[in-house]
């Protein structure tokens, strides 16, 4: 299960970030931020023409000492659920795209995906 889930805006600022061992939040933030380089690399590698057919699953972005960082989707369909939930948030007419996500439903869904710590 995941220890940290983050939704990042295309301008690379966090829309939503949540991690389970809260005492080490900073580390996760750094990790997520750093992984954006890889995401960017992978996305840019596909090229503009292919942008539409791009595979959304980016796979393993990079491993750290303790964790592995994945982009978008895993075979557990975890990320599809996340995407669906994210789509729901986006469809909310009261949500202003680009704002930090503050949605109970999304929160609940993310909590379900998290490692149930303690």
């Amino acid at each position: 299960m995941a220890v940290c889930i983050a939704v990042i805006a295309k301008e690379n600022y966090p829309l939503y970030i949540r991690s389970v061992p809260t005492q080490n939040e900073l580390k996760f933030h750094y990790t997520v931020h750093t992984s954006l380089d890889v995401v960017e690399e992978k996305i840019s590698a596909v090229g503009k023409a292919m942008a539409d057919q791009r595979e959304l699953y980016l796979g393993l972005l990079y491993p750290t000492e303790d964790y592995k960082v994945y982009g978008y989707v895993t075979n557990s369909k975890m990320f599809r659920k996340l995407h669906n939930s994210f789509t729901d948030v986006m469809c909310n007419p009261f949500y202003n795209p680009g704002d930090t996500i503050q949605s109970k439903a999304f929160d609940g869904m993310v909590s379900a995906m998290m490692v149930q710590a303690s």
Binding site: E11, N12, H33, T34, D37, V38, E40, K48
Partner: protein, 1448 residues
């Protein structure tokens, strides 16, 4: 990024150079010492050969040696470093020192790297980052990938690397830094130089072969010895040196010795000669390193922050270091002071260069060439045998054994050592030699071969070394015959690190490999390699490598900015652990550029916090503050993390809201003192109200205008006692010497922990100025003082006393104000700069937190009761300017002089107290109170005036009349009437006598007309008009309750001037605000009617008879609602005041002499008023007392309030009407209707009365079971006959709600005087006997004479037509028994002059006895000159009944 100054090839070549040892005789040492150098140092700048050398390889191929460098070092026999895997403490210190001394240049050219959306400023420390909003990043990326590499230099890394490589200890498994040759140097001044050479040669031999020393290590057993004879040109005999050299040549061969002549410059000659100092750049670094010895050695004794684990270091090495340090101390200290090479000329430089070249090409290279050949021959001869032997044995013993052996032996392979002369090492030796002379091809093949051998022997250390060098030489091979074997390096590093546990070698290997990979643009690999090398054991190395890795990321084809940032943070962390605070700060700052403002708040906060802390320790308070402020202003922070921050925090704590600062000039006033009530004035407790301020300003303008004969001076500026952000602070405020200045500062505690400030006081600067002298003189001797330096506090207190607040407590997140006082004792210009305070830990938290203030840094605080001296400046930005176009387009702010008061010479200071001042009054109630004026200053005061928003509320009495009436003290006033009264003569009927007084309005301080003009300024009748210092005076003050019920805010502004003129302040003011609650009392309505009775014949005067009289009905209603309080009202007196009319007598039908009114009762009074002749615009006061005492209404206070009354609303109307009419007539021109204006006024005049009725009443009120008599007066202004006037005008206020009309209102149609108005022109009266006896029997016709009196009421000539003819159809003709006829002329045409009375004799003829109405004559009148107008029927008189009695 780590873009080195050197190219990669250069770097690697320079990392491995032939080593040459130096053994120097003492005399030779002395020669070189003259130049502040030892021999090896002397040579160092010339160690790079500029020309090419040649040598032949074993295959007789000529090999070109380019750009060769040799390294010359003194022989040091002490083991410098134990050849263990970890670097020694001394080495660490050295490296750390190198890194910390090498800092990026301050203010250097900013090196901006654009990567993706980010513009990263790499070499600059400033926190500059563009706002990287999402542009088309893909475009940017593609553009970037085609562009050149980014450059950034990290000189500290290069310095580290250089020092690191130089300090590599010589290892056994490789020969690269073993000495190849030894220079034996002997001075020519030696008695027998040859012997000395011999000695040195022996010593070298001893060092190398005796086995006493493990250090230094020598490359080959028969080391090249090169004999150098050093000749000092300034001292020795040159011929002798030459001859000795000749001797040497004989002995050692021409290629084995050299005569070096130096010091040809004499000290005297060379003073002005400019000689370059090539040593500085070489020696500086190493010297610097050694120069730190003092501190280094000292710090070794104490615990150095870098000394993490001393366990690995033997005491010996420590001693060694100390010994080195002590030894070099003397030399270096001097060396650092003096320049190098002072005795050398340029010629000498050339000689040295020549010598090195000679030595290298003639001595060293051939020596190497010879050895390579020898080694090659050995190897070739042995190859067949040994190789086969090795392989045979391997086959023999090998097979399945190898793997199991490897595990067991891998552990201790580092212990596996070949003897120095082992054949396995010969090939390595040869490879190293080849490598040193740049024969990389041969070197590679040798290394490769050696590697295989070592691997097969499982000699891992050796193998790793061979692998490393094989890779390097493969890279260095020109023409790139084979790709760079990166995996060799990886294996080598892994082996060094994991198997041999030698981080030192692994690090060297990694440094080389990373450099090579970078040169091949394999940044990703380089970064991985560097990151792998980071470990827990050495923070400095880890930090540097992480930083390099970060630079690798950003130099990738697709720059990985975030990885760069992350690794920068890691590097910064390690730097800070390694004690490299400046580097740490730099790293964090660079990383900050990426994280800043992107919503990664947690990370951002962390970085900010670290930056803040590092800046703090580096004494960069501004950076620290901005970083910490960023954290603390971030609302998301929790108390816990803030507390963590506070562990080391330094902040401007608490915050000061500068713009909310208020400044108050003057004493803090007592509001009440016993029964005295002080003027409210201005205080800091009042909120600023813009409307109120405008009101006060208006009042002040009024009073200033009145003091300056009606003109407001151009320099007028409203007095501002309390300055805040909303007041006009453009000018320097004026404060008075010896009067306090109170500054209110708004503190805010942004933290969730309480703060305690102690010893809070203001900081100021003061320039002395003497305003009493002319301005020019004052400029010259301007003296400035300040209390900024604490020691001066005593002295500065004499100039300005500064109040200190001992303790000031701020709760968490509280906003609180502190008031700080200054008391100036001198005149001049004061500038309040800021405030100082001690910021202390709160007692509740037990002194755990230590707050450090902004500016002052302190050393370690005492363990408890910590406090820090803090200072904050009060800088107030003025309002934004928005006047001109320029100001509108730019953002500029005006000055704010709130805190820069000018201290002026003493001014009078007035204090005003009120005694017996009521808070509630009935409407119209008169109350007497007392005011006390006190001059509390040392300057006489004059020109005391008061202005009020309600001038009708109070009076000081008229100056001419009031004085004799004033009771001496308020106590004698008990239950005394406020009015001046006279007892009515006994026996006189109340209401029958009207006492008449003539009074001019001027006596009551009012201008002509007395209609209470807008000017509400009253001069206060002071004795002598001056209030001397310390003097106080008490004056009576009459108050009259406002006419409208409700709460009234009444503002007084007392104005006064200094009796001494010419000060900076022209006047001063004192404000007072009272609230009066007015409750309803009586409502008086009055109507005036024309009296139809003819003036009596006995009327005293002709005038009165002619003008007639008037009836005045006064209708008084008790509308008081407070039934419990007011029992009843008595109407004590009714007085009139007019210029033309007076009340004549009371014609009340009821005999009720004192009119009493209970609640809701209504009383009616009727008076006759007569017209009197106006006397010089004087007012006629007539008093009709209904009680037993007469109130003299023409004196204070009654008349005062009469004159101060609000002008009745009716009187305001005429000017408006005239104006509109004027406009009309203008539009119509002088047409036929032009006379209408005249007409109207004429007609109105006819009906005008202008009589004011003053109703004086007494109210019996029960208060606390005590009956109190209250008095009061109400005014009614009668304007027009027949129109009711009321004392209450409040209903008219409702009219203010007028609908907004956007079209101009049509001018009212020509106001013709109405029929009704015109019908009042003529007053008619019939005079006849009431009853007439007539004997109808005798005479059938009864003739009765009747007189018709016509009196013209108007002031114009009137044409009158009298028509006596009966109008039979007239409905109003009384149907009486019969009719009568008028005899004689039935129609008269008359002309009546203004106010003329005419009597027309008429005769009536009656036929029968009976009652007849004589009132049949119809009177028509028209104004004489109004031809166009027809006559208007005049109001008929009341029925005039006559009784005709048949007299029989």
């Amino acid at each position: 990024m780590a873009q080195c100054v050197q190219s990669v090839h250069e770097f690697i070549q320079d990392s491995f150079v032939p080593m040459v040892a130096v053994l120097c005789s003492e005399d030779a040492e002395k020669v070189t010492r003259k130049n502040n150098l030892n021999f090896s140092e002397l040579l160092r700048p010339f160690c790079r050969l500029t020309s090419e050398g040649h040598m032949r390889d074993p295959n007789n191929q000529v090999q070109v040696v380019k750009n060769l460098r040799i390294s010359v070092n003194n022989v040091v026999t002490r083991p410098s470093v134990p050849a263990s895997g970890t670097p020694s403490l001394a080495q660490r210190l050295l490296l750390s020192e190198v890194v910390s001394t090498c800092q990026p240049a301050e203010g250097g050219v900013a090196n901006v790297i654009t990567a993706g959306d980010y513009d990263l400023n790499i070499s600059d420390r400033s926190l500059k980052a563009s706002v990287p909003w999402y542009r088309d990043w893909r475009d940017t990326l593609t553009e970037l990938s085609t562009s050149k590499h980014y450059t950034a230099t990290t000189p500290w890394f290069e310095a580290y690397r250089e020092t690191f490589l130089q300090s590599m200890p010589a290892a056994d498994h490789e020969f690269l830094n073993h000495y190849l040759a030894c220079l034996l140097v002997v001075s020519s001044s030696e008695a027998v130089p040859v012997e000395k050479f011999l000695k040195l040669s022996q010593e070298q031999h001893r060092i190398q072969h005796s086995g006493e020393y493990t250090n230094p290590k020598w490359f080959i057993p028969n080391t090249l010895k090169y004999y150098v004879l050093l000749h000092d040109m300034s001292q020795g005999d040159e011929h002798r040196a030459d001859s000795v050299y000749e001797d040497m040549k004989q002995r050692y061969g021409a290629q084995g010795c050299y005569l070096l002549k130096v010091n040809s410059r004499t000290a005297a000659a060379g003073a002005d000669e400019q000689i370059p100092d090539p040593w500085s750049q070489y020696l500086h670094k190493s010297k610097q390193v050694l120069c730190v010895d003092g501190s280094l050695v000292n710090s070794l004794d104490s615990t150095h922050p870098l000394q993490l684990d001393t366990s690995g270091d033997t005491p010996g090495s420590l001693d060694a270091l100390r010994a080195v340090a002590v030894e070099t101390k003397a030399g270096t200290a001097a060396a650092a002071a003096a320049s190098h090479g002072a005795c050398l000329t340029l010629n000498d430089h050339d000689r040295i260069r020549q010598f090195i070249q000679e030595f290298t090409f003639r001595g060293l290279l051939p020596h190497i060439e010879k050895n390579i050949r020898q080694l090659n021959d050995q190897l070739v001869s042995r190859k067949g045998l040994s190789r086969s032997l090795f392989s045979a044995t391997k086959k023999w013993f090998g097979g399945g054994k190898v793997p199991e052996k490897s595990i067991a032996e891998l552990k201790n392979t580092s212990g596996l050592l070949y003897p120095p002369e082992a054949p396995e090492l010969q090939i390595r030796k040869m490879a190293d030699l080849c490598f040193l002379v740049q024969h990389y091809e041969l070197a590679y093949s040798c290394y490769h071969t050696a590697k295989k051998d070592f691997l097969s022997d499982q000699a891992m250390l050796y193998a790793a070394g061979a692998l490393e060098m094989a890779a390097v030489s493969a890279f260095l091979q020109g023409g790139a015959p084979r790709p760079y074997p990166a995996h060799y390096m990886d294996t080598a590093i892994q082996t060094y690190r994991d198997v041999c546990k030698n981080m030192h070698l692994a690090e060297r290997c990694a440094l080389l490999s990373a450099e090579i990979l970078k040169s091949q643009a394999k940044f990703s690999d380089a970064a991985t390699l560097l990151i792998k090398m980071t470990s827990e054991d050495c923070d400095l190395r880890s930090a540097l490598l992480l930083e390099q890795a970060a630079h690798c990321f950003i130099n990738m084809r697709n720059p990985m900015v975030r990885k760069f940032a992350f690794h920068m943070i890691l590097a910064g962390h390690r730097f800070s652990k390694a004690g490299q605070k400046r580097h740490a700060l730099r790293c964090y700052c660079q990383a900050m550029q990426v994280y800043k403002g992107k919503g990664w708040s947690l990370a951002e906060d962390h970085i900010n916090f670290t930056i803040g802390r590092q800046s703090f320790t580096l004494r960069q308070p501004e950076n620290a503050v901005s970083a910490f402020r960023h954290i603390l202003t971030n609302e998301s922070q929790q108390a816990s993390s803030q507390q963590a921050d506070l562990d080391s925090v330094l902040l401007p704590l608490p915050y000061i809201n500068s713009s909310a600062t208020r400044v108050y000039f003057g004493h803090e006033r007592r509001l009440a003192e016993g029964e005295k009530q002080a003027a409210t004035h201005v205080s800091l407790d009042q909120e600023f109200d813009r409307d109120l301020a405008a009101m006060w300003r208006d009042l002040e303008e009024q009073v200033v205008a009145s003091a300056n004969r009606g003109v407001v001076p151009a320099t007028f500026q409203a007095t501002q006692c309390c300055l805040n952000s909303q007041t006009d602070n453009l000018r320097f405020p004026l404060a008075v010497v010896e009067e306090p200045i109170i500054v209110e500062v708004v503190f805010r505690n942004p933290l969730k922990v309480p703060l305690v400030l102690s010893d809070v006081s203001l900081l100021w600067k003061f320039t002395l100025k003497d305003f009493s002298r002319p301005q020019d003189a004052a400029v010259g001797d301007a003296l400035a003082f300040s209390n900024e330096k604490e020691t001066l506090t005593k002295q500065s207190d004499d100039i300005i006393a500064t109040e200190v607040i001992p303790e000031f407590f701020l709760n968490p997140e509280e906003t609180k104000v502190a008031r700080l006082k200054l008391l100036p004792h001198q005149t001049g210009q004061l500038n309040i700069l800021g405030l100082v305070y001690n910021l202390a830990s709160t007692p509740s938290t037990g002194g755990v937190w230590q707050y450090t203030a902004l500016v002052l840094f302190i050393g370690p605080s005492p363990a408890d009761g910590t406090s820090v001296r803090g200072r904050q400046d009060l800088e107030i930005q003025g309002p934004r300017l928005n006047q001109t176009k320029e100001e509108k387009t730019s953002v500029s702010h005006g000055p704010d002089r709130r805190l820069d008061p000018t201290i002026t010479p003493p001014m009078p200071l007035l204090e005003v107290f009120f005694l017996q001042f009521p808070t509630a009054l009935l409407c119209g109630e008169i109350r007497k109170a007392y005011v006390e004026f006190c001059n509390v200053s040392g300057v006489p005061l004059c020109g005391l005036r008061v202005v009020s928003t309600h001038p009708d509320f109070f009076t000081f009495g008229s100056s001419s009349l009031a004085t004799p009436l004033t009771p001496l003290s308020p106590t004698s006033f008990e239950n005394c009437s406020a009015y001046k009264t006279l007892a009515t003569p006994p026996g006189a009927t109340p209401g029958s006598v009207a006492a008449v007084t003539l009074v001019s309005a001027g006596d009551f301080g009012l201008g002509e007309g007395g209609s209470g003009t807008s000017n509400g300024v009253a001069e206060i009748p002071l004795e002598d008009r001056v209030l001397k210092p310390g003097q106080s005076t008490q004056l009576p003050l009459w108050l009259r309750g406002p006419d409208h019920e409700g709460v009234h805010e009444i503002n007084f502004l007392f104005y006064y001037e200094s009796a001494v003129k010419g000060g900076k302040i022209s006047h001063r003011v004192l404000r007072h605000t009272v609230f009066i609650c007015a409750s309803r009392s009586l409502c008086v309505r009055a109507t005036a009617c024309r009296s139809n009775t003819l003036p009596e014949e006995e009327a005293e005067e002709e005038d009165e008879r002619r003008n007639g009289s008037m009836l005045v009905f006064v209708d008084v209603e008790n509308i008081n609602t407070n039934e419990a309080g007011v029992r009843e009202f008595h109407i004590a007196q009714v007085s009139s005041s007019s210029k033309q009319w007076r009340l004549h007598r009371c014609i009340n039908p009821a005999e009720d002499k004192d009119c009493k009114l209970n609640s809701r009762e209504r009383g009616k009074l009727c008076f006759r008023a007569t017209r009197c002749k106006p006397v010089q615009e004087k007012y006629i006061f007539a008093d009709l007392s209904l009680g037993n005492e007469q109130i003299i209404s023409s004196t204070t206070p009654c008349a005062d309030f009469f004159f101060r009354r609000c002008p009745p609303s009716d009187s305001r109307r005429p000017p408006v009407a005239v104006e509109t009419q004027g406009r009309l007539s203008r539009s119509q021109g002088a047409g036929p209707g032009g006379g209408a204006e005249d007409l109207t006024s004429l007609v109105r005049k006819c009906n005008e009365v202008d009589l004011d009725i003053i109703v004086l009443w007494k109210a019996f009120v029960v208060e606390d079971n005590k009956q109190v008599i209250l008095e009061g007066q109400l005014h009614v202004a009668l304007q027009t006959i027949g129109k009711e006037a009321c004392s209450l005008t409040q209903k008219e206020e409702a009219q203010e709600m007028v609908l907004l009309k956007f079209k101009p209102e049509l001018p009212p149609p020509m106001t013709r005087p109405s029929m009704e108005q015109l019908s009042h022109l003529i007053k008619t009266n019939l005079h006849y006997p009431e009853s007439y006896r007539h004997p109808f029997i005798h005479k059938s016709l009864c003739l009765v004479p009747v007189t018709l009196t016509l009196s013209n009421c108007s002031l114009a000539q009137v044409d009158v037509i009298i028509d006596l003819r009966h109008k039979t159809t007239s409905p109003e003709s009384l149907e009486v028994h019969g009719s009568f006829t008028w005899l004689g002329q039935t129609q008269y045409k008359l002309q009546l002059r203004a106010q003329e009375v005419m009597r027309v004799p008429l005769r009536a003829c009656f036929l029968h006895a009976g009652v007849y109405n004589l009132g049949t004559p119809r009177v028509f009148a028209k104004l004489a000159d109004q031809g166009a107008m027809c006559e208007t029927s005049q109001q008929t008189a009341t029925p005039a009944l006559i009784i005709i009695i048949n007299d029989t």
